[in-house]
Symmetry: C2
Subunit: 116 residues, 2 copies
DNA sequence: TCTTGTGGTTTCCTAAAGGATACCAGTATC
DNA sequence: GATACTGGTATCCTTTAGGAAACCACAAGA
């Protein structure tokens, strides 16, 4: 049945979206995939994010085992965020999003030229 | 530089998220990828969606060239929605999300067993 | 002593996303 | 005559996401 097949595809997708949806989680993970970072570094490198959102999203990501938070007792303390091994299993999604975004931008730009 | 590299990865991802984010667009596209469908069929096959959201999301998807709407002058009229060729370029994202969602569910279930 | 940097928290607010319900015309079916 | 089907729209409402700005302790450097 078409409808049942549909469910077996949609339900896991909903599970994934529940965890990574929103404006910031994928961008944060993307930055951390390139290199682990400290809080203020992330704040600078993820354009437009506020400290409040960054803090909240990092907590969510840590709860779901995608990001690991490590505190170093320097003065002042430094806190390092890194993608966990499990977090790296999201790489195919991140790559697919980036790849599509790049192609989409090319498409939009070429359409603009035709219209003008 | 780490920060500039970061931008070249994050900006296209943001472009992609702008178009497909939200609770319903990917589930709708997933259903249509399996087979084209009429409005009421979609309403039944995408669990939990309201007619209002379905109508709105389909319009968004049509505007972005991901879905094609075709009206047949039957009695009563029937309207068919199908994924466009361009819409199918989202397949890698959809597959990656589904794949991860399935693995994630397995992981969660196995963790529950250990905890109990 | 003033600023800068560390990693955040707190409060207040707005905008957007999404849900519930009722409703529309027209036809076929019971 | 009532019901169910077609593909939606309109209205009202709640919830959530997200943003702005102020603030915290502590230490180093100018």
């Amino acid at each position: 049945m078409k409808s049942e097949l549909c469910l077996t595809h949609i339900l896991p997708i909903r599970d994934a979206l529940d965890i990574i949806s929103g404006k910031w989680k994928i961008p944060i993970l993307t930055a951390l995939c390139i290199h682990k970072r400290r809080f203020k570094e992330l704040h600078r490198d993820v354009p437009g994010i506020t400290a409040k959102m960054l803090s909240k999203e990092l907590k969510d990501l840590e709860i779901n085992g995608l990001v690991k938070r490590t505190v170093y007792e320097t003065m002042p303390v430094s806190v390092e965020y890194a993608v966990t091994e499990y977090g790296h299993t999201l790489n195919p999604i991140i790559f697919a999003l980036r790849d599509w975004g790049l192609k989409h931008r090319v498409k939009i730009l070429s359409e603009d030229k035709v219209e003008v």
